[in-house]
């Protein structure tokens, strides 16, 4: 039934936005994680991308996580000679995480999550109207 399919589609949307939020949380939590040993690279920012996938059972275009990749941009270099991980010149490599863009990403994920929730809400009220025809 179409309205039930709608709920499935929107829940696939909810799921990918959760995945996205998970990646954002990892990035923010690790925004200061330097390498463990000297010379080891710090945490690299993770990225996520989506793809649409045809659900063969319902013929609907669901959404899936395509890939959780890494951001290949340069690490941030800070001059901190007192830091235990500092190299010979006194520089420490920090992760390439920009907290402002992570915040924006988080907000966007939240908005998309809310949009999908609204669709579920609306489909649910349509369904309950149909059921109330029986009363």
């Amino acid at each position: 039934m179409d309205l039930i399919d709608t709920i499935h589609i929107s829940s696939s949307g909810l799921k990918v936005q959760q995945d996205r939020l998970k990646v954002v949380a990892q990035n923010i939590a690790n925004s200061e994680s330097v390498g463990n040993r000297e010379g080891q690279a710090p945490y690299r920012r993770k990225t996520i991308s989506f793809k649409n996938a045809l659900d063969k059972e319902t013929g609907a275009q669901m959404v899936q996580t395509k890939k959780v990749g890494v951001d290949k941009s340069d690490f941030v270099k800070k001059y901190e000679p007192a830091h235990p991980q500092a190299d010979a010149q006194g520089y420490v490599l920090y992760p390439n995480v920009n907290s402002i863009s992570e915040m924006m990403d988080m907000r966007e994920a939240r908005r998309s999550y809310e949009a999908n929730l609204n669709v579920i809400e609306s489909s649910k009220s349509m369904l309950s109207q149909t059921i109330s025809l029986l009363r």
Partner: protein, 136 residues
Amino acid sequence: MDLKEPALNTMMKGHMKYMANRQKVLAQNIANIDTPGYKARELKKLDFGKMASSANSQLEMRVTAPSHLNGTLKAGSMALKSDKDRNTFETTPTENNVVLEDQMGKISDTGAQYQLSSSLMRKFTGLYRKAAGSNQ
């Protein structure tokens, strides 16, 4: 007019089916709001006049010989096919042209239209109930 299935009932059913289908298409759009390269889809507008005339007059194909094939399209039903929406006004750099505000507006419109036909249907069945003598 068929007594078992009055034309009004067929039309309201068709309308509700259309709205449920549209809800599904819009849900796909919203779920794919961050999918690169996804193009918004939309159902063809419901032609109420055409639906009314087909609900009244369309005949089903009938099997009169064993070698005949049964018609698959029932009288009063219509083919629902989603097409690319050409009226979106924004495309993101990732080639995705789903506009969230637009879609949310359509979703609430669909909900209201659905409510309209479901309450019409309820009134209509209420008439039958009255005729059948129940107190409701």
